[in-house]
């Protein structure tokens, strides 16, 4: 298992805890991601993935523990931390009535990228995703797959070092899902660290590392091959079900 406190980590969680009332959503989660690493956060529904993303994006603060992005503590320097993060939320966060271009422009302005520079980045991102011709269409007119692509493009406009994807393939057809995964896997070569939350084992199989989260705890953290080996062979799916099933029994 890779050392969770690696010095070269660009995103690091240390003993993070979060409760909503009496319900403990995260029970001391530690995690480290290096530049250029694609980490799949694999967990069943209700494992705490969404809570973790709420903390990682500064929507809430953790009750205990520490989250650092590029060395910035998200509790004490949220602005610096947020500047290094790109997010694709589980729920669509596009303004349906604005054009694709206007949605992207809204983002560049919020991130302080001005005029021509913003225009160039938007044009390049749209060209890369093959959406140049849709730039002036309202988002409402786009397919689900294309809306997700726009959100991925938007999350990269400010060139973040860390990309957070919260179950981004939910509701997509297999082809769009594959395309999105390939787009994000390709970002590794640029040194972007990716945290990809999913409950689909097949998406986790291509990750550099898989972190299995269940009932607010990290059950395993390692390469897909090492997880399979630890489970005594078979498939990642079997290893995942074995782990989370056993944990559910213990928690239940």
């Amino acid at each position: 298992m890779p050392e969770a406190t690696a010095d070269d980590a660009i995103l690091r969680l240390r003993e993070v805890r979060k409760s909503y009332g009496p319900r403990e959503a995260l029970k001391g989660v530690s995690l480290a991601i290096r530049p250029g690493e694609f980490v799949a956060l694999l967990g069943p529904n209700g494992a705490g993935k969404s809570t973790m993303f709420q903390l990682l994006t500064g929507l809430f603060n953790a009750d205990a523990g520490e989250i650092r992005v590029c060395g910035h503590d998200i509790r004490h320097s949220p602005v610096a931390a947020l500047a290094s993060i790109g997010v694709v939320f589980q729920q669509t966060t596009l303004d349906m009535d604005l054009s694709v271009e206007a949605n992207l422009r809204f983002h560049t302005r919020l991130h302080g990228i001005a005029g021509r520079e913003a225009g160039e980045r938007i044009a390049a991102a749209l060209a890369r995703l093959g959406l140049t011709e849709r730039a002036d269409d309202p988002v409402r007119a786009l397919s689900g797959g294309n809306r997700r692509k726009v959100e991925l493009a938007r999350a990269q406009l400010h060139r973040p070092s860390v990309l957070l994807m919260d179950e981004p393939t939910v509701g997509l057809d297999p082809a769009s899902r594959r395309q999105l995964l390939d787009e994000v896997l390709a970002l590794r070569s640029g040194g972007v660290a990716v945290l990809w939350a999913t409950h689909l084992v097949e998406e986790a199989e291509e990750a550099d590392r898989v972190v299995v989260l269940s009932a607010g705890k990290v059950l395993a953290d390692g390469t897909p091959a090492s997880l399979v080996a630890a489970a005594g062979g078979g498939s990642l799916a079997a290893a995942f079900l074995g782990m989370t099933g056993r944990n559910a029994e213990l928690a239940g």
């Binding site: 929507l59 602005v79 947020l82 966060t93 303004d95 422009r105 809204f106 302005r109 990228i113």
Partner: protein
């Protein structure tokens, strides 16, 4: 926070609000029809029922239509301020709020940008109302058009900040109708918008008179009334500014990821 970044973000928020406003043609129409109904229909029917005596800032007897202009300007600001609250709740349901709150800027500043954007729309609507009122023959002194600007901005911000504060509490769009009943109408009727407050006192409604005196909207209307006639109501204006600061701080506190009221519900911005 760099100044250039702050201005770009303000531009982002403002242009989105304006684009939304332009798209919703009906909102603009109803924002104008509402006060016009009061001015043209209500005031015509009641002008001989209410005798309005000479009270500051007026130095002569005035027709009832002229009396209610400041109150109707206040009404325009009040409705639009509540509309900004509705927009916050809508953005939260649509997820756009998350995008806003994860921008690398202090959260209070993002709320402030929302407030300024909403106030810009409020003030523009107030001036369009003044123009239409003038077309109906209900005029205010020419200098008043200019002198009332800062007061409209402050009043609009105060009521917009109240809207932001309410948006912390309103979890769903459906609850907006409740806000109308419990905030907008009491604020409007418990104010000197339609009748001078001494009328309430005279009629023996002492409790209502007392409440009206503590109503922030009362002071927004009075500050507007005095400014339209080139006078300065220090008390009303300072109450407006005080309420603005208080409402905004409470709203910023409500949206704080650590302490806020959002924390309680577990539902993020």
């Amino acid at each position: 926070m760099r100044l250039a970044h702050a201005l770009l973000a303000l531009q982002a928020v403002t242009s989105r609000e304006v684009a939304k406003f332009v798209r919703q043609g009906g909102r603009f129409a109803s924002a104008l029809v509402r006060p016009l109904l009061w001015l043209v229909v209500f005031a015509a029917g009641f002008q001989n029922v209410f005798g309005v005596s000479i009270i500051p800032p007026y130095d002569t007897y005035i027709p009832y239509q002229v009396y209610i202009v400041p109150g109707l300007l206040g009404m325009v600001l009040l409705f639009n301020g509540m509309q900004s609250s509705l927009a916050m709740v809508y953005d939260r349901e649509m997820g756009v709020m998350r995008l806003l709150l994860t921008a690398p800027l202090p959260r209070w500043y993002l709320l402030f940008a929302k407030l300024l954007a909403g106030t810009l729309l409020s003030v523009l609507q107030a001036y369009v109302f003044l123009i239409i009122a003038a077309l109906f023959g209900v005029t205010v002194p020419w200098m008043g058009w200019l002198q009332v600007l800062p007061v409209l901005v402050l009043g609009g911000m105060m009521l917009g900040a109240l809207g932001l504060l309410l948006s912390v509490q309103i979890r769903q769009l459906e609850n907006f109708a409740g806000t109308m009943n419990f905030v907008i109408f009491p604020m409007f009727f418990l104010s000197p918008a339609l009748y001078p407050l001494w009328k309430l006192e005279e009629s023996g409604a002492e409790i209502i008179h007392f409440v009206a005196q503590w109503n922030p909207f009362t002071h927004a209307v009075e500050a507007i009334r005095f400014a339209l006639y080139g006078q300065f109501s220090a008390m009303s204006l300072s109450i407006v500014v005080g309420c603005l600061v208080a409402f905004f701080l409470l709203a910023a506190w409500g949206y704080d990821p650590q302490r806020g009221m959002l924390k309680r519900t577990g539902k993020p911005g």
